[in-house]
C-alpha cells in the first residue's frame, strides 16, 4: 500500500521553507480540489494547503461537523501544529467563516496572528443571515435552491444516487454556515474581504462591515459575478490574493 496522505491538509506542491503557508478552506460541500492548481498562480514562496474536512472525498465515511466548537477547536490545533512557517488563511463562504474563527482562536491561544486573513463570499460577523436556511429544507427544496445558486455542477445534481450520498455532508456544512454566530471581538490579523457584485447569498452590503472585524489593516474588493465568483473569475481573484500575500511577505521581512 502507498503511504496514507494527511487526511486534513492537501498540499500539491510542498515547499522546503515557505515564506508563507496559505491554508484554504472550501465552501459548503466542497473539498480541497477547489484549490488544487492555486499554487501555480501564487508567489513561489507561498505553500498552498487545501483543508479537507470529514465527510467528503476520502473522508467520506467520517461524520461531518455540525457544530462550531469542536470544528474550531480541532482545526486550530491542527493549524497550530504546522508552526514551522508564518501563515495566512483563505476561505470562501463557509470557508470564510472557518478561516476567521480559526484566526480568532489562534490569537486567543497566544499564537502570533495570521499574516493575512481573506474572507470571500461570506457575510460579516455582525450581519445577520439573509436567506432562509437551506440546511433544514426538504430534499426537493434544497436541490432546487442548489440549482438556482449554481454552486453544484448540473451533472451532479442530475445524479440522484450521488446526490443522496453527498446530501448529509452538504446539509451539515450548510448548518455550520447558516448557524454561525461569531463573538464581537475583532482579530489583530489584517483582514481582506472579497465579494461578488451580484452575490445574492452574501451581497456587498453584508460584506462591507467586515472592516469592524479587525484592528489591523482592512482591504475590500468586489469581483464581477454571483456567489461563486471565485470560479468565474479565478485568475483575477488569484492575482488579488497574490498581491496581498506578497505584501504580507514583504512586511514580515521588515519585522525580522
Amino acid at each position: 500500500m502507498r503511504a496514507a496522505s494527511d487526511p486534513w491538509f492537501v498540499t500539491r506542491k510542498k515547499k522546503e521553507r515557505p515564506a508563507l503557508r496559505l491554508f484554504c478552506f472550501p465552501y459548503a460541500g466542497g473539498g480541497p480540489h477547489i484549490f488544487s492548481d492555486w499554487a501555480d498562480h501564487l508567489p513561489d514562496a507561498v505553500e498552498v494547503v487545501g483543508v479537507r474536512l470529514p465527510g467528503r472525498e476520502n473522508r467520506f465515511r467520517e461524520r461531518p461537523y455540525r457544530t462550531w466548537e469542536p470544528l474550531t477547536a480541532d482545526l486550530t490545533a491542527l493549524v497550530r501544529a504546522k508552526a514551522d512557517a508564518p501563515f495566512a488563511l483563505f476561505g470562501h463562504s463557509l470557508g470564510g467563516r472557518i478561516a476567521y474563527e480559526v484566526a480568532k482562536r489562534l490569537e486567543a491561544s497566544g499564537r502570533e496572528p495570521a499574516r493575512q486573513v481573506i474572507v470571500s463570499g461570506c457575510r460579516a460577523p455582525t450581519t445577520a443571515q439573509r436567506q432562509p436556511p437551506m440546511y433544514s429544507m426538504t430534499t426537493p427544496d434544497l436541490r432546487r435552491r442548489l440549482h438556482e445558486m449554481q454552486g453544484v455542477p448540473a451533472e451532479i445534481l442530475r445524479n440522484e444516487n450521488v446526490m443522496t450520498l453527498i446530501e448529509p455532508t452538504l446539509r451539515a456544512d450548510l448548518e455550520l454556515a447558516e448557524t454561525w454566530a461569531s463573538s464581537p471581538e475583532p482579530v489583530a490579523a489584517p483582514v481582506a474581504a472579497f465579494c461578488g457584485t451580484r452575490d445574492a447569498v452574501d451581497p456587498p452590503a453584508a460584506m462591507r462591515p467586515w472592516y469592524r472585524a479587525t484592528t489591523g489593516r482592512f482591504d475590500y474588493a468586489e469581483f464581477d459575478g454571483g456567489h461563486f465568483f471565485i470560479h468565474d473569475h479565478e485568475a483575477v481573484v488569484l492575482a488579488r490574493i497574490a498581491g496581498l500575500l506578497e505584501q504580507s511577505i514583504a512586511e514580515g521581512r521588515g519585522h525580522v
Partner: protein, 85 residues
C-alpha cells in the same frame, strides 16, 4: 474468457480511465480515487463511463464513495457484470 482474465481486463480499463481523469501515468490497484484527486464531479463522470461500458448497476455509487481503492472498484464491476451476464 475466464473470470480472472475478465477482471484483469476491467482493471486495465479502469486504470486507463483514472490515468486519463487525473492526468497521471502510473495508476495501480492500490490507488484510491479520492487520494488521486477525485471529487464528486469526477466521481459522477467516472460512474457514467462505467455505466456506459458495463451496464447500469456495475458500480453502485456508494461502492466508489465507501471503498474508493481501484482494486475494490474493479472487484465490484467484475462481480456485478458477471451477475448480469
Amino acid at each position: 474468457m475466464s473470470a480472472n482474465a475478465a477482471t484483469a481486463d476491467i482493471e486495465a480499463d479502469v486504470i486507463s480511465m483514472w490515468e486519463e481523469f487525473f492526468g497521471k501515468g502510473s495508476v495501480s490497484a492500490d490507488d484510491d480515487f479520492f487520494e488521486l484527486g477525485g471529487n464528486s464531479l469526477t466521481a459522477v463522470k467516472f460512474l457514467s463511463r462505467v455505466e456506459e461500458k458495463y451496464g447500469m448497476d456495475a458500480l453502485p455509487p456508494e461502492t466508489l464513495f465507501e471503498t474508493p481503492a481501484l482494486r475494490d472498484v474493479v472487484a465490484s464491476i467484475a462481480q456485478n457484470a458477471k451477475k448480469a451476464a
